[in-house]
């Protein structure tokens, strides 16, 4: 039994808005094993990005109001500045959603690519050589030329590949990818995901993939954690979860995708996605759930094991028994 690389235990996050603190992430517990890839799936506003950023303490310290974050057994929240600096880049690296917004426009691509390595103390010439070879790995053959160019001269897809190259340049053990393909067009999306996956498996890195696309997560990751309103609703192996979702929210997500060729009305989950601070005491999904009962409004369900899946729902057994009693006609 190996120890997890990353462990989040009962992590809660609050951010100040207009002078008051609002909870965006509530009591999230998650772990990632070495070499494992985990998908954190949720709609916008579900708190998944903030969760990822808090892992490296890129959010303000005072915003993490509860829980602990352990990396390699060490408590991230109490690390001193120099230890934290070594954690970032060398052990954990992040790939952001919009590469153009996250790159300094007045510095060359090379500067961005090298800064992590230089911070590690690697001599400039060696860093440059490594950068060129990394660019080749991510599908940019004329690395030298690209490094001398500026970000505004490159397309979004190219910039994202450079960001991936920069992330792995510092040889981290864990990659955090925050919606890495959302800002790109569809064809580029496939390429970038392929590159990301390839580099990850070649180097044996762990990956936390944050996305709103359940299908994407299922294709790329080993396990999936579904998040809604700052709370984890279902966690399980990707293949399993994708084929047979248990939580009503996950079921809703899967069935609301339009299918090519189908002329039926798209099934949507009624209501709108909420953030953690808008929810009352009961289950966060209660206001939109078709299986809701009184108990759901009163007590928030914890994640519990149901046939090898972690689900946060009071009604799971009920729903399962109903299903076996009157099987729904698959659409």
């Amino acid at each position: 039994m190996t120890t997890p690389l990353l462990t989040l235990e009962h992590v809660s996050l609050e951010i100040p808005v207009d002078g008051e603190l609002r909870r965006v992430v509530h009591d999230v517990s998650l772990h990632i094993m070495p070499g494992e890839s985990v998908g954190l799936v949720g709609e916008s506003g579900s708190g998944k990005s903030m969760t990822a950023r808090s892992i490296m303490r890129l959010t303000r310290r005072e915003w993490v109001t509860g829980g602990s974050i352990l990396f390699g057994g060490e408590q991230v929240l109490t690390m001193d500045k120099s230890r934290l600096q070594r954690l970032r880049g060398s052990q954990i690296a992040m790939i952001y959603q919009d590469p153009r917004a996250h790159t300094n426009p007045v510095r060359t691509n090379g500067d961005s690519l090298l800064e992590g390595m230089l911070a590690q103390g690697i001599p400039k010439s060696e860093a440059r050589a490594r950068a060129v070879s990394l660019l080749a790995d991510v599908g940019i053959p004329d690395g030298e030329r690209r490094m001398n160019q500026y970000p505004h001269e490159l397309s979004g897809g190219l910039l994202q590949r450079i960001m991936i190259a920069a992330a792995i340049s510092t040889t981290p053990d864990l990659l955090l990818a925050d919606e890495p393909t959302t800002a790109l067009d569809v064809t580029t999306q496939e390429e970038v995901i392929a590159i990301l996956n390839e580099q990850r498996s070649e180097r044996g890195l762990s990956l936390l993939l944050i996305t709103h696309d359940l299908d994407l997560a299922a294709a790329v990751t080993d396990r999936i954690a579904v998040m809604y309103a700052g709370v984890l609703l279902e966690v399980g192996s990707s293949a399993d979860l994708h084929e047979r979702a248990l939580h009503p929210y996950t079921v809703g997500l899967l069935s609301s995708r339009p299918e090519i060729g189908s002329r039926e009305r798209i099934r949507t989950i009624p209501g709108r996605p909420v953030s953690a601070f808008e929810v009352g005491p009961g289950c966060v999904f209660a206001s939109r759930c078709t299986h809701v009962v009184e108990h759901c409004l009163v007590e928030r369900p914890e994640l519990r094991n149901v046939n090898g899946r972690e689900v946060a729902c009071h009604q799971i057994e009920e729903i399962q028994s109903h299903k076996s009693a009157s099987p729904e006609v698959p659409s």
Binding site: F277, G280, A286, S287, T290, V293
Partner: protein
């Protein structure tokens, strides 16, 4: 299962914070305008009422802020002088803003060579700061209020036009303009009814900020003796006239006139900045 009603999720309420500072500043400005208008009623003395025996006295019971070198009451002169001091910048801003809006909207709408020509013209105007333009205007037209007002209006137009042009450019490309065109509205109507109102918040903010700058520039020109001429009680003139007295140990005239300018400009700047923040929020 369907017997219970689903709880509604209340949307996060929008807090409407009353901006105290903004209303305070507006209040002060309104008061200033009222004072300027009512000067003859409020002022204890006439502005040109001399009293040589009481020259260069400090604040006292008879003279709230003291007297100048000719024995005139400083307080009364400040009150009367506020009219000229505030009128000049108002005129300048009116002209410059109107010209700036027209230039910005027309060059964004027409585009092409017109836009380029206007930009080049404004660039030349940019090359020369307002003060120099005003001085040359005075050389040609003679001292007084007219020459500096014309000159500064010319000098301020490019600043306003340039800022508005950027916003107009952004607005022009928005969908609602296109839909207006599709309906068949004339260019003029679209500009007047849609483009312009959306730019108004920024226009107001810029005009306010420019007012403060114009006030300072105009007072400077009067200080140099090239603008409003003595014995008019404009505040810049008062600072100049009081300088000799200041050097001799009687600073009342210069300092009270100077302080008045500073206070008005601070108030106007705060208003301008608040308006600019609001304009940004709505865009």
């Amino acid at each position: 299962m369907t017997a219970i009603s689903l709880p509604t999720v209340t949307p996060v309420s929008r807090r409407h914070r009353i901006d105290i500072l903004l209303w305070l500043v507006v209040g002060i400005l309104v008061a200033l305008v009222v004072i300027a208008i009512l000067a003859p009623v409020i002022a204890p003395y006439a502005p040109d009422q001399t009293d040589i025996l009481a020259a260069n006295e400090g604040p006292s019971a008879e003279h709230f802020l003291g007297t100048d070198s000719l024995g005139r009451d400083i307080y009364s002169r400040l009150l009367y002088g506020s009219r000229l001091t505030l009128l000049g910048p108002a005129l300048i801003i009116l002209i410059a803003t109107t010209a700036g809006v027209v230039l910005a909207i027309s060059s964004v709408w027409r585009g092409g060579w017109y836009d380029v020509a206007v930009s080049r013209l404004l660039d030349v105007l940019f090359a020369v700061p307002g003060l120099l333009v005003a001085i040359i205007a005075v050389a040609v037209l003679g001292p007084g209020l007219l020459a500096p007002v014309i000159a500064l209006s010319l000098a301020y137009t490019p600043y306003i036009a340039r800022i508005l042009r950027t916003v107009a450019l952004r607005e022009r490309n928005l969908a609602y303009i296109e839909s207006g065109q599709l309906i068949g509205l004339s260019g003029w109507a679209i500009c007047r009814r849609h483009l312009l109102p959306n730019m108004m918040p920024l226009v107001r903010a810029q005009a306010t900020l420019a007012f403060g700058a114009a006030l300072v520039d105009l007072a400077a020109i009067s200080y140099l003796g090239l603008g409003v001429q003595p014995p008019a009680a404009e505040w810049g003139v008062m600072v100049a006239e009081g300088q000799a007295a200041l050097l001799n140990g009687y600073p009342w005239e210069s300092l009270s006139a100077g302080l008045s300018i500073v206070i008005v400009v601070i108030v106007v700047n705060v208003l301008g900045e608040r308006l600019a923040q609001r304009a940004e929020r709505t865009s």
